[in-house]
Each structure stands twice: as structure tokens, then as C-alpha cells.
């Protein structure tokens, strides 16, 4: 998909003005965090597991070349094929070539963010192959021709009324008088519609939550079982995965799996954790005859050795989205590309450029909740700050903002002057705002006060009060 991240500010306003989105995000913003908190409460070792998860991923990235080669060797030994792709175009071409080699007409798909990233569906469609999304959320948004708004719950921006509308528009063979107003009826209809597609598909495409170097296996984690039907029934299974999904051993995967579901949905373990190694074995009664892995770089290798390397630890659990006051107010589409929320605000500029996605790392209150819930302790706020520094260095910020920052920096480096000015400001504003206790508007701060009032200062600066207290205590 073409990014619209440049229009972030307009997108965010549209999100805030959308009543359906407000209701849907209200459900998401409370449900996910509450369930996560309960799951962690039940596991006293969770904090220690976070440290181990971080260490495993750091070790892997520091030896990524070794583990990728070991992984490839073991995939090959088990009868699979690894296809290396430098960028999205190479990855799409690799998938298309495999599909063509078996003359594929219908391709079923499990949910995959990297497939969204490389815009795989459009490419298959353009080449006469029908991709069918099988995760319920993905299926809904495919019918609505829109991108996912959340990395694990793609249709989280919708209420059941929009799902009903999409199903009625698409499933025109069914009785128009049928009742599908409630979630159980909608789920049953999707199941009935998609089952024949699973059986008819020539190729099944899934992503991977983990790739295991030791064994050449890929792991997918799902709740619906759609990923399993996708990869078991067709004659070809293609795994599309980015480089950083590698982990060294089965033991390392177990540790990260203990973190993943709890951080994502607050489940102890997702319904289905499936580990695949190569194609159907001699004597097997089912399973694909071919097993391919398309290993996608698309900007990851460039993140190694730089200030965004730690982002490669990301497990795509979405805890940072679910706990973000900005994401839960504006929704995922505002971010304008594949990855929304705090993880998207760091990853998107790395993948499509800070010139395109520069607004994203600025859409943060720096409250730090994202980092505090990240299962692998990625310092998301720090990295958003790095992007802001880069924007400043590359002169991508408005001249007035630049001069303002420069002026502020000049003053901030002169503590005497700074304290004097702040003290004057606090007193003047305190005096002016005494009667109301707040300001509806302030000069030079119109953007800030347009949606909220500025509380009037009490008349003294924090520094002054602190100094006074220190003197009194002495």
C-alpha cells in the first residue's frame, strides 16, 4: 500500500471525529490492558522472563548472519527452500514465481504483517491469482478494501454493524433475509464461506512469529486455526518472514512464547502454536508437498549497528499499541502505513524514510507506557527522540519551530537567565490567570489551547519552590 503517513495530522483529526472508531477503540483500550495485567499477575516470573527475552533477541541480532545461515542449512536439510529477498519487490516476485510454478488460482493466507508490508495481495491480484485472507479480522478488512488498523486485531476499528454491512455486500448468494446482527452469526457465516476456500486453495501463505535456527522450523501463533488450515491443506506452503524473526533454539522460542500471548491478548497461551519443519514426509497422509520460506530484509539489515537496532527485538505483540494514549485515541489508520502505534512510530521511518513518516515519532506524549509493557523492553520513547533529532538535523522541521527550539536551547544553557525568565513567566501568568484559574487561549500556543485549557501557574516556578524547600530543610 502507498503510505499516507505524511497526512498523519489530517488522518488523526479524522480518527478523532469518527464516532464508530471512538466506540471500537474504547473497547480495545480497556480490554487488552486489563487481560494482560491479569495474566502477568498470575506469573510471578514475568519480569525476569522479559529480561531473558531481551537477552535472547540481543544475542540473536549480534550473531544474525550465523543464525540465518544455520537456519537456511536446516530448512534445506528438512526438504524446504529458502528464498532471500533484499526488498519488497524481490519478495513479491519470489512468492509469485512459486505460485506460478504450480499454476495457482486461489491462495489462502494466514495473517501476516510482513505480507502487508510488501503489499503481497495487490501483486497477486494483478497477476491473476486470488488471495483469500482467512483470519476473521483480515477477511473483514479485505472485503472492505482497507488496511489493518492493528497488528494483531486488524479489524479493531469496526463494530459489528460494519461487519454485517461488509458481509451483506460480499455474500450476495446468501438469503438477504438472514439475521447476522450478532458476533456468533457473523463468525458462523465467515466460517461457512471460508471453509470451501481452504479446501480449494492451491497455495497457502502464512507469516511466522519465530524461525528456529537450530531446526529450520517456522512457528505461527493463532487462535482461530485458520493458519493451520491455510498451511496444511494446499500442496504448497509459503512462509513469508522478515530476518529478525530468527531465534537460536527451541528453548529460546519457549521463553519468547511465554511472553508473547500474555503481552498480546492476555492469554496464557494462544489456542494454536504450530511449528512446521519442511514439507510432507514419506508416508504422511496430509500436509503440503512443498515448503518455501521467503526471507525478507526490506530495510532490517540497515538498522543493525545503528540507533534503531533494538527495534529488531520486536515480537509484534501489540502491547505498546494497546497501552498508548495516542493510538487508542486516533486508531491505526491515522499512522498511514502498515505498523501503527509506538512500534510503528519507530519502525515506519526506518522502513519508508523519516521524510515520509516524520510525523509518527512526534505523535507521542512520552508517557513511557509503551516501553514499560514491551515484553522485550524496547526503549521506544528514546528511539522516537532519535528520530526527532534526525529530523532536526536534516532540517525537516518548520523554520519557526527550528528557531523556537534554538532560542529555547540558548536560554536553557544559561541557568541564571532561564530561572529568571521562568520566574517572571510564572508570576505574570499566575497573576493574569488568577480569577479563572486557567487560560482558554495563549499567544504562541494556539495549537495547544485549541482543544484544551492551560491551567494557570500558582505564581512560583518549580525551581524556586524546590530551592526554598532545600533551604528550609537545612
Amino acid at each position: 500500500m502507498d503510505p499516507t503517513s505524511r497526512a498523519f495530522i489530517e488522518n488523526a483529526h479524522a480518527g478523532l471525529a469518527n464516532p464508530v472508531l471512538r466506540r471500537a477503540l474504547g473497547i480495545a483500550g480497556t480490554g487488552f490492558p486489563a487481560r494482560r495485567a491479569e495474566a502477568i499477575q498470575r506469573l510471578p516470573e514475568f519480569e525476569a522472563l522479559r529480561d531473558e527475552g531481551k537477552a535472547i533477541k540481543d544475542h540473536t541480532i549480534a550473531h544474525l548472519d550465523y543464525y540465518l545461515e544455520l537456519y537456511e542449512k536446516n530448512v534445506t536439510t528438512s526438504g524446504g527452500v529458502v528464498h532471500w529477498a533484499r526488498d519488497a519487490a524481490e519478495a513479491r516476485a519470489a512468492v509469485l514465481e512459486i505460485c506460478r510454478s504450480v499454476d495457482a488460482k486461489i491462495v489462502t493466507k494466514g495473517k501476516s504483517m510482513v505480507a502487508e508490508e510488501i503489499a503481497l495481495n495487490d501483486h497477486l491480484e494483478k497477476n491473476g491469482i486470488t488471495p483469500v485472507e482467512t483470519d476473521l479480522g483480515e477477511y473483514i478488512i479485505q472485503l472492505r478494501h482497507e488496511p489493518p488498523s492493528h497488528i494483531i486485531a486488524p479489524a479493531i476499528h469496526l463494530m459489528k454493524e460494519q461487519v454485517e454491512e461488509a458481509f451483506r455486500a460480499a455474500h450476495t448468494d446468501l438469503n438477504p433475509g438472514r439475521i447476522i446482527a450478532e458476533a456468533p452469526q457473523l463468525c458462523a457465516e465467515a466460517r461457512a464461506i471460508l471453509r470451501p476456500q481452504f479446501l480449494a486453495a492451491d497455495v497457502g501463505i502464512t507469516g511466522a512469529n519465530f524461525l528456529i535456527a537450530e531446526t529450520g522450523s517456522s512457528i505461527i501463533v493463532t487462535n482461530e486455526g485458520n493458519g493451520d488450515l491455510t498451511q496444511t491443506l494446499p500442496k504448497v506452503h509459503i512462509v513469508v518472514a522478515s530476518l529478525e524473526k530468527i531465534v537460536p533454539t527451541l528453548e529460546d522460542a519457549a521463553t519468547l512464547l511465554r511472553l508473547l500471548a500474555r503481552s498480546a491478548t492476555g492469554q496464557e497461551f494462544s489456542s494454536y502454536t504450530t511449528m512446521s519443519t519442511g514439507p510432507r514426509r514419506a508416508g504422511d497422509l496430509d500436509g503440503p508437498e512443498q515448503y518455501h520460506v521467503v526471507l525478507v530484509d526490506n530495510g532490517r539489515s540497515a538498522m543493525i549497528g545503528g540507533e534503531f537496532q533494538e527495534m529488531l527485538r520486536c515480537l509484534r505483540c501489540a502491547a505498546c499499541l494497546n497501552h498508548c494514549p495516542v493510538y487508542t485515541a486516533i486508531g491505526g489508520h491515522a499512522y498511514g502505513w502498515v505498523y501503527p502505534g509506538p512500534m510503528g512510530a519507530v519502525l515506519t521511518p526506518a522502513l519508508i524514510g523519516v521524510a515520509e513518516a516524520g510525523h509518527l515519532p512526534n505523535a507521542s506524549t512520552f508517557c513511557g507506557r509503551c516501553e514499560s509493557v514491551c515484553p522485550v523492553k524496547i526503549p521506544l520513547p528514546k528511539m522516537m527522540r532519535h528520530w526527532r533529532e534526525r529530523q532536526f538535523a536534516q532540517r525537516q522541521v518548520a523554520p519557526a519551530y527550528r528557531s523556537g527550539l534554538k532560542l529555547w536551547a540558548w536560554v536553557a544553557r544559561r541557568p541564571e537567565l532561564y530561572h529568571t525568565l521562568v520566574e517572571i513567566k510564572a508570576r505574570v501568568l499566575g497573576w493574569l490567570g488568577k480569577s479563572r484559574g486557567r487560560f482558554r487561549a495563549l499567544p504562541l500556543a494556539g495549537g495547544w489551547t485549541v482543544a484544551r485549557d492551560m491551567p494557570a501557574p500558582e505564581g512560583r516556578s518549580f525551581h524556586a519552590l524546590w530551592a526554598e524547600r532545600q533551604r528550609a530543610n537545612r
Binding site: 471500537a24 510471578p44 549480534a62 544474525l64 548472519d65 550465523y66 540465518l68 544455520l70 537456511e72 536446516n74 536439510t77 532471500w84 529477498a85 483470519d135 479489524a155 479493531i156 463494530m159 459489528k160 458476533a183 456468533p184 457473523l186 463468525c187 465467515a190 466460517r191 471453509r195 479446501l199 535456527a213 537450530e214 529450520g216 487462535n223 482461530e224 486455526g225 493451520d228 488450515l229 496444511t232 530476518l243 537460536p248 533454539t249 528453548e251 529460546d252 519457549a254 521463553t255 512464547l257 491478548t265 496464557e268 497461551f269 494462544s270 489456542s271 494454536y272 502454536t273 504450530t274 511449528m275 519443519t277 519442511g278 514426509r281 497422509l285 496430509d286 526471507l295 530484509d297 540497515a302
Partner: protein, 234 residues
Amino acid sequence: MSARDDILGRIRSGLGRGELAGGALAEVAARVAEHRRNLIPDRAASQDVAGRINLFIAMAEAVQTTVTWVEKDIDIPAEIARYLAAENLPAELRVAPDPSLAAIPWVERPLLNIRHGKAEPSDAVSLTPCLAAIAETGTLMLVSGEATPTTLNFLPDTHIVLLRADQVVAGYEDGWDLLRQRQGDGPQALPRVVNFITGPSRTGDIEQKIELGAHGPRRLHVILVDDGKARPRK
């Protein structure tokens, strides 16, 4: 330059080194070969056999798996007949052609229609063995093979799993050890697919409300065979 060499080259230049060699290489290779376990939560690790079984049952039931207990293989047909009748399901069963299920005396229940093999789209109920059950999260561990086709775990609406009491282990790591004991190290150690199954299929994609039976089975029923050595709580 091939995409592969290009990517590996970029990674190495980012890491500021060439290909791993010497001591550094030996160290990483040893880390893989060692299969060192990371931190294991105490929840299951500290339990004895009976504790593990009780924990497995509690965790499984928390995610809508149903569990019943029988003493001997001879009791299995009656239990299955009872379950199917109680759930208002047809008395038909697609059974994994696995030797571990061969001793079940189906003749005891002549009205049960038993067929063996992989799942067909029309099959409503399947019966499979499992390799292990993970007490920590109430998870069943199933492996694919000649006698255990994967489709049995996903196509039918109802999946019945036969679990023997001595198959209940503490954590996933114990499951990895079982796999390695079967076939040794490396990719040859693994069957094509290992399925960790924790409750029936579900989705929360519509307004975050959990619905069972999204694409896989709506019902997951475990028959625990235990001769009383490690009698569970019921």
C-alpha cells in the same frame, strides 16, 4: 551479488565484523548444541505427577477444554459414546490410525461408526493421540506422522484427544526433550508439524468478544486415561 550474499554482507558490516570464526564461532555453535534451558516458571516445574495432572486439568478447563477421566482403555468407547450423546453429536468418529489407539475395544460399542485415516471435510468428530500435555498452560502437544495426520486436529468440528497420565509434563521444554529423544538432534528430530493446542478454536475479532469455533474445532475434549497411580482430583 546474490540477494543472500548481499544481505549477509550488510548484516556483517552493520555488526562491524566479518564472518564469525575461531573462538567466537565455537561459542555460538556450543550455545546451540547445548539446548540450555532458560528460566522455567515455578508453576508447573515444582509439581509432582498428581500436581501436574491437576494443574493441566485446571488450565485446560480455564480455556474451555473439557476433560474426563477413565481408568482403562476398555472404558474409552463408553466414554466417547456418552460424550457424543451428551453433545448431541452423531455416533461417528474419524480415528487416527495410530498403534497407541489400536487396543481400544470398539466392539464394546457396535453403534459407534469408526473410520480410520486423515480427516475428510465431512467428518464431524476426530479422535487422536498426543505426544504430551503441558501442565503449565493446559496445552496438548501433538505431532504429525504416518499415523497422525494433522487434518484430524483442525477440520472436524469436535476434536477428542486421548491423553495418558504419564504423558503430562511440566513445561514446553519437556516437550522438546521428548521430540529429541524420539529422533535425535537437528531438523531430523522433528516431525513435519508440532501442534500445541490450548483450548478450542476462537476469535475476538468482532468487538473483542470471544467466539469459539472460528475455523478449527468448536469443541476440544480430553479423555485422560489413568489407572489410578496418579489419580486426578475428580
